[in-house]
Structure formats: structure tokens, C-alpha cells
Amino acid sequence: MTMQLARDAGAAALVVTLIVASHVAHGPAAQERSLTAIDVPSSRPTPRTASGRPDLSGYWKGTRDTKPVGNIGKDLSSWKLPLTPAGEAALKHNLTATVDPEALCIIGGIPRHNASGLPFEILQGANKVAFLYWYSYFRLIPIDPNRKHSDDPDPSFFGEALGRWEGDTLVIDSIGFKDERVWIDENANPHSDALHVVERWTRPDADHLHVETLIEDPKFYTRPFTYSRTWVLGRSDEELQEYSCSENNVNKDHLGFGPGPIRSDGTRGYVDPAPLPAPILQLPRPPK
């Protein structure tokens, strides 16, 4: 009887612990360790380089205000992309005949990386800027107003990117994209080799990074559309870590085609998952 009481009391205490721990795990401390951050106003001024340009360098984390994350149609009504018939066919192909390229450790490219839930890091120099991504991918972009796009750039996932300053805005103009094994976002939306992306990056204060993106693809989209987003500065002790995508990619042999279900909130993922069995609370046996 005494032992039973002890177990009951222990179980009750455990329930309390569960509740408390759950709140702790979702509080500010958990936020700081997470890949996203809470957006808060900043009074710190934009840092600038010796030449007076804004310095975009930093480890940048998305916020929960970016909804739906991973969806390039985020800023469109009902997230509806203006697909051409060819774009519709390409989307159908992606949904029914392709495995997520990123899950196969193929570079996600632009603009997909800008829509990702993952943080990224910028290192800015005087004449080049580097965007460093989880997966150990990068793009290195020249900042030179006199550079012109190649007549026939070799197709790539990030495209041929050229940077220039317009006042305090870093403009990155990219063409020359691949048209196979690419998804424009995590929901398997398509883009073609006619993709043209213009990113306008600003750092309005020390703690925020913003992009306005113009996406044009006359093969797959009836009109240009935009994608805008704000990131917040990570802590000084946060940075990218090694992430070897192909080290142990067991999934590649088991993934189905497409992104899986798209939820009503515009993100991919489980829809109404069946509840898991109740946890088994294993309390150590009391001493005999």
C-alpha cells in the first residue's frame, strides 16, 4: 500500500513535471536555441562597412511571422501561383514523378533557399558577397555595377548572379538556371530555365535583414510575382555547422514523389496525423 502510494505520488509529480517542462521547452530559452527567432524591434543602427555601405554580414534566422514558410507563393492571394499551362504540367510532373531534389542532396537554388526555414549566413566583402547555407552550400556573388550577364550562361542551381548597390540596397540579378531537378520551393512548384530573379536586400537596422524578390519565368508563370521576407540576427555565438547532406541519406531510397500533402496553412507536412500511443512512464522500481 505504501509502495502504491509512492508510485501514485510519483506519477502525479511526473505529470506536473511534464507540464512545466513543456512550458520551458517552448519559452524564450527554447527560442534562442531554435532555428527561428522571435521578431522584436531594434534600436541598433545598421552596421556599415568602411566604404559606407550597409554590412549585411551575419547569421540570419527566420521568424514565425513568415507564413507559410517554404511556399514561394507566400505573398499571393491564397498562395495561388500564376502558372501557365506549361507551368501546370511542370507542377504535375514534380508532384507525381520527382523526388524532392533537396532531399537527394541537390542544391535547392534561388529563390528556394530564400523561402527555406533554415537560417543562413552572409559574409560581405568590398567586391563580393557570400551567402552560406545549411547543407554546406554557398553562392559567391560579385558586386560590380559594370558586370553584365553572359550571353549564354551555363545553367546552374543558383544561376548567374550579379550584384550591385542601389543606395543602401544590394541588388542581385540572376539568370541562367537549370530546368531539371529543380523545385522553386518546398512544395514542388516548378521553374524553368527562363527564370529571372531580382533580389533587393536591405538591412534596415542591426537586427533585421529584408529581401524583396521579383520572380519572372514567362515559360511557367503568366506574370512576374514577388516574394518578400524578413530575417532576424542570430546570437553572436550562433553560426552554420557542418551538414553533410549525403553522409547518410537513407531517405533517398524511400521517399515518395512530390512533397507529400500540403496542409491548409500552405506548408507541406502531415495532415491530421493519428495520435501516437500514450507515453509509457517508466518510473524506476522502488527498492525492495
Partner: protein, 132 residues
């Protein structure tokens, strides 16, 4: 009774239910309608990217022992949540609750792991997919 409280309060719960990030959509691989509970012996741990895997030998009703692969978040993701490589000890009996792979293979989205010491940890990478 006092001891009961002490024991219970030392149990650390690391399970979180929030959306996390992975390099693939878990919903494209795992079936949200097919839950599974595995109780077995931990035989192998792969603390690797893009995801961690650990393998459990489970004795079925007919006495046959079958090996299941359990997929968790990336090492960085799990570490951020306080789930460390050393928490998984070969030979331990653990319980894994999760969802089965759609392709019928013995792979599980390891949403919840009950360790041998009673701790309950989240192994999940995402409901959605996106390293995390």
C-alpha cells in the same frame, strides 16, 4: 512517498511538439495514419547528417527478432533540444513511438523515444519536412 516524488522530479522531459525542420518532407515518406510502437533492444546508432538513425531489434509475437530503423532529426537539431548521442546506449531497451514508412520498409519516423532511464525525448525532425 517522498522518494517517489524525488524520483519523478528527476525525470527530464525533452519532448516538444513544435514544427521543426528537416531536409525532406517526412509526410512524403511516412504515413501519418500508421502509428507504431516499437519496444526493443538498441543495436546501432548513426549520429549522422542529414538525419540520425538508430536501429532496434524487436521480438515479434512468433519469436522472430526483426530490426527496425528509426529516423530522427539531425545531430544539431537533437542536440539543441538536449538529446545527446550518449543518451542512446547499445543494449538498452527503448520504446519508439512513430509513423511507418509508406513503402512498407521497416523504417519509422521516431517521433517519441522513451529511453531506458525513463526519459522521454523527441527524435522527430519535422511534421513537415524541412535540418533541421
Amino acid at each position: 512517498m517522498k522518494n517517489g516524488f524525488v524520483v519523478a522530479l528527476t525525470v527530464v522531459i525533452l519532448y516538444t511538439g513544435g514544427t521543426l525542420l528537416a531536409h525532406h518532407s517526412f509526410a512524403a515518406q511516412y504515413d501519418a495514419t500508421k502509428t507504431v510502437r516499437l519496444t526493443g533492444t538498441l543495436v546501432r546508432v548513426e549520429w549522422t547528417n542529414p538525419h540520425t538513425y538508430f536501429y532496434v531489434d524487436v521480438k515479434e509475437d512468433n519469436g522472430e527478432v526483426v530490426r527496425w530503423g528509426c529516423e530522427g532529426g539531425s545531430p544539431a537539431a537533437l542536440s539543441r533540444r538536449g538529446f545527446k548521442r550518449g543518451d542512446l546506449k547499445i543494449g538498452d531497451t527503448i520504446i519508439v513511438d512513430g509513423y511507418r514508412s509508406k513503402d512498407g520498409s521497416r523504417l519509422v519516423d521516431a517521433k517519441r523515444i522513451t529511453l531506458a532511464d525513463g526519459r522521454v525525448v523527441s527524435g522527430a525532425s519535422a511534421g513537415d519536412g524541412r535540418p533541421q
